[in-house]
């Protein structure tokens, strides 16, 4: 049974909130400064080291933060609490999917900040490293320890390896997790479906003549991949438990004039029910085996990034507290299956939520932006939430 301390007991006074707003306004430039400087340290997944060093140097500049790292180059900073009896982990991923050719510099106008990666999720990591400055401006002294964690290897094949490595070492000491994402203010994730990802590689034998007219009428890797896609689409998926198979990316071929030798399909399966996963994986392998045999091709299915369905319920004190905080700011909470790194935390039974910090538009182009006015609200949401959690009683999962 969970012992619930109703969050309303810890609601801050209007006067205090006004004081916080003023402090947040003062700290906003520091956050935007960090956002601008982060863009100077590109951090494509697996190549985050320079950004990690920058984040660690930021921690080191603040007397209140004790910095450390690990073999994944996670940037870890400890802000010690007055009692230090509980540990609240605040995390955001530092990597993105942009290669060095993408200009990530930001452009600040009167009402918005624009640039590739700003909204998802450089804003999250910039907020994380500015938090100690915000605490200082607001003269906040918390009872619990705050652990600031900038994680690596979040995207794609990175498969949340940063947070997995951190939790392997420190997971049993974490009482609650808040994950920060750029978008959107009002969003709240606290549960996730069962998930597995799969990379399918279709490969033909090397042709003797690269561009043979006669071979063009035969099968090629892209056509084989097409058959695989058709077979994936023909797999019956139940409505209950809700199950989805999403083909997220395809690639293949080299030139107009050559028979394609390689093709790749990248897909994700999500389900409310963990048991669906084994069945679907097996069916995909069977289908691919048949198609490979009929086309004289090699097809490999590489499954990875699996996690079980898990999460909190809306009655959990952490969720209740977050919902109320969002409503207090005048936003309607939007809850969704999480695809963030809290899936790893939830799977380990750690009460975890993921929140958005601002309004805006995401995406990889430099048209991505955040609205500055909403950022102030987003930061107030975060500070309120941290203070409420600090005063809560038991946070154990239901």
């Amino acid at each position: 049974m969970i012992k619930t301390n109703h969050p309303k007991n810890t609601v801050e006074t209007a006067e205090q909130k006004e004081k916080w707003r003023a402090g947040i306004r003062e700290a906003r430039e520091m956050l935007l400064g960090n956002l601008a400087l982060l863009a100077e340290y590109p951090a494509q997944t697996f190549y985050e080291r320079k950004r990690a060093e920058f984040i660690l140097s930021r921690y080191a500049e603040m007397a209140t933060v004790d910095p450390t790292t690990d073999r994944m180059h996670n940037a870890i900073g400890l802000v010690s609490g007055k009692t230090g009896k509980r540990n609240l982990l605040i995390c955001s991923h530092m990597d993105n999917q942009f290669n060095l050719n993408i200009d990530q510099s930001i452009n600040v106008s009167v009402d918005r900040v624009q640039g590739a990666g700003v909204a998802d999720d450089n804003l999250g990591i910039a907020t994380l490293i500015t938090l100690p400055d915000i605490f200082r401006k607001l003269e906040l002294e918390l009872d619990c320890n705050i652990i600031l964690l900038g994680t690596t290897r979040y995207h794609g094949r990175g498969d949340f390896e940063g947070i997995r490595t951190f939790l392997k070492k420190y997971g049993d000491r974490i009482d609650a997790v808040i994950n920060l994402t750029g978008l959107s203010l009002g969003s709240l994730d606290y549960f996730c479906s069962s998930r597995v990802r799969c990379d399918i590689h279709c490969e033909l034998q090397e042709p003797e003549i690269e561009s043979s007219w006669s071979r063009m009428s035969e099968s090629n890797a892209i056509l084989v991949a097409n058959e695989v896609i058709n077979s994936l689409n023909s797999i019956p998926l139940p409505k209950k438990p809700k199950t989805v198979l999403n083909i997220g990316m395809i690639s293949g071929g080299e030139r107009y004039s050559t028979v394609s030798h390689d093709a790749h399909i990248n897909l994700e399966i999500l389900s409310d029910e963990n048991s669906m996963m084994d069945r679907l994986c097996e069916q995909i392998i069977d289908n691919c085996t048949d198609i490979a045999a009929k086309n004289g091709a090699n097809i490999t299915c590489d499954f990875f990034g699996r996690h079980e369905a898990s999460g909190l319920s809306s009655s959990h004190p952490l969720v209740k507290c977050a919902l109320e905080t969002i409503k207090d700011l005048g936003y309607k909470p939007r809850t969704e299956y999480s695809s963030t790194q809290i899936t790893v935390c939830l799977a380990q039974g750690i009460p975890s939520i993921s929140i958005g910090l601002a309004e805006g538009t995401g995406g990889s182009s430099n048209r991505s932006f955040i609205e500055l006015d909403s950022l102030e609200q987003g930061l107030l949401q975060l500070i309120t939430l941290i203070c409420k959690i600090d005063k809560m009683g038991n946070l154990a999962n239901e």
């Binding site: 400064g33 400087l37 200009d103 930001i106 600040v108 009167v110």
Partner: protein
């Protein structure tokens, strides 16, 4: 050359030499100095917000190194001034001040009026069009001024991200520097060839020296400033700092042509001012260019004497050949 090479070694820095900003703040306080940062602007709404935010958050809020950040504008028609003010810069429209001196328009005018409008003992000028703006653009320039008492003026230079076939990095400036300024300096002010990028838009100096020199209002401001400071205070009062990469808008050849035209006017004025027989005989026919191997900068010298051939019609053998040809023609007739 030895003196110049020696200067190059003792007066060339890297911004990372001054990355301990806390130490700079202590020196500034001990010396009781006020430090001002000036962004001269004209329609820079795309980059000014970030520039002000980065400098204010890092060098005023986090470390109290700067005492003021000001934007001095030539009359932008976009939101440059509004954005700069919103993020905490003091904003001035240049034409509103010192009206009795008449109104001129140009970057140099803004830099000159900064001396009147800003309060600092040290003034740092940073162009507002830098897209990879970073605190190093300020502390890298301030470092030598605060740490070495005999240095009064510091100029920025930047890495050029290309290598030649033999893997040696050309360490000079842009097109106008290498095609116009360096040849002119090599001929008339050879000591200034140690300045790697004389046209860079970022520099810092003590008020006491900046108020004693003329300010060309247009393209010639950097060239004029360097020559004047060198003539008045000597080469040892000048230093330069490598600020790594600077990403900014590339200019068209037509713009560079205009820039060169303005710079030439400033240059001829300085020749007339400092040389007894200007324009007649160059002081040197050695072109000095820069190379670098990592952070080791070297001048390479090329003796270039432009010889001229007389008209072919005046060459004796040619005359003989023509005579011979004519003779043969006549005999055939």
């Amino acid at each position: 050359m030895n003196k110049l090479q020696q200067w190059l070694k003792s007066r060339t820095f890297h911004y990372s030499d001054f990355a301990d900003i806390g130490k700079l703040v202590k020196i500034k306080k001990r010396k009781g100095l006020k430090i001002s940062l000036c962004f001269p602007t004209l329609n820079e709404e795309k980059t000014i917000g970030k520039s002000v935010i980065v400098m204010k958050s890092e060098l005023m809020d986090r470390y109290p190194l700067l005492d003021e950040i000001a934007v001095i504008d030539s009359g932008s028609t976009d939101k440059t001034m509004e954005i700069a003010a919103k993020f905490g810069a003091d904003t001035y429209l240049a034409s509103d001040y010192l009206k009795e001196e008449g109104t001129c328009y140009g970057k140099g005018e803004n830099l000159w009026k900064a001396l009147y409008l800003l309060k600092g003992d040290v003034i740092i000028y940073v162009d507002a069009d830098i897209s990879n703006i970073h605190p190093r653009f300020v502390y890298g320039l301030l470092g030598p001024l605060l740490i070495k008492p005999d240095i009064k003026f510091v100029k920025a230079f930047y890495n050029r991200p290309f290598k030649s076939a033999d893997n040696i990095t050309p360490a000079g400036g842009g097109r106008v520097t290498e095609i116009l300024i360096r040849p002119l300096f090599s001929q008339f002010f050879p000591e200034l060839t140690g300045i790697i990028q004389p046209l860079s838009g970022e520099y810092a100096g003590y008020r006491e020296i900046l108020t004693e020199i003329n300010f060309p209002i247009g393209y010639g401001v950097e060239t004029g400033m360097l020559i004047d400071l060198h003539q008045k205070y000597g080469l040892d009062a000048i230093a330069q700092t490598n600020l790594d990469l600077r990403i900014h808008r590339n200019q068209s050849v037509a713009s560079l042509g205009k820039m060169s035209f303005g710079i030439l006017q400033t240059f001829w004025n300085r020749l007339a001012k400092y040389k007894e027989q200007p324009l007649l005989t160059p002081d040197s026919l050695t072109l000095r260019q820069m190379t670098s191997d990592k952070d080791d900068y070297n001048l390479i010298q090329h003796e270039i004497k432009e010889k001229e051939r007389q008209p072919m019609s005046q060459v004796k053998e040619y005359q003989n050949m023509i005579k011979e040809l004519k003779k043969n023609d006549n005999s055939r007739k």
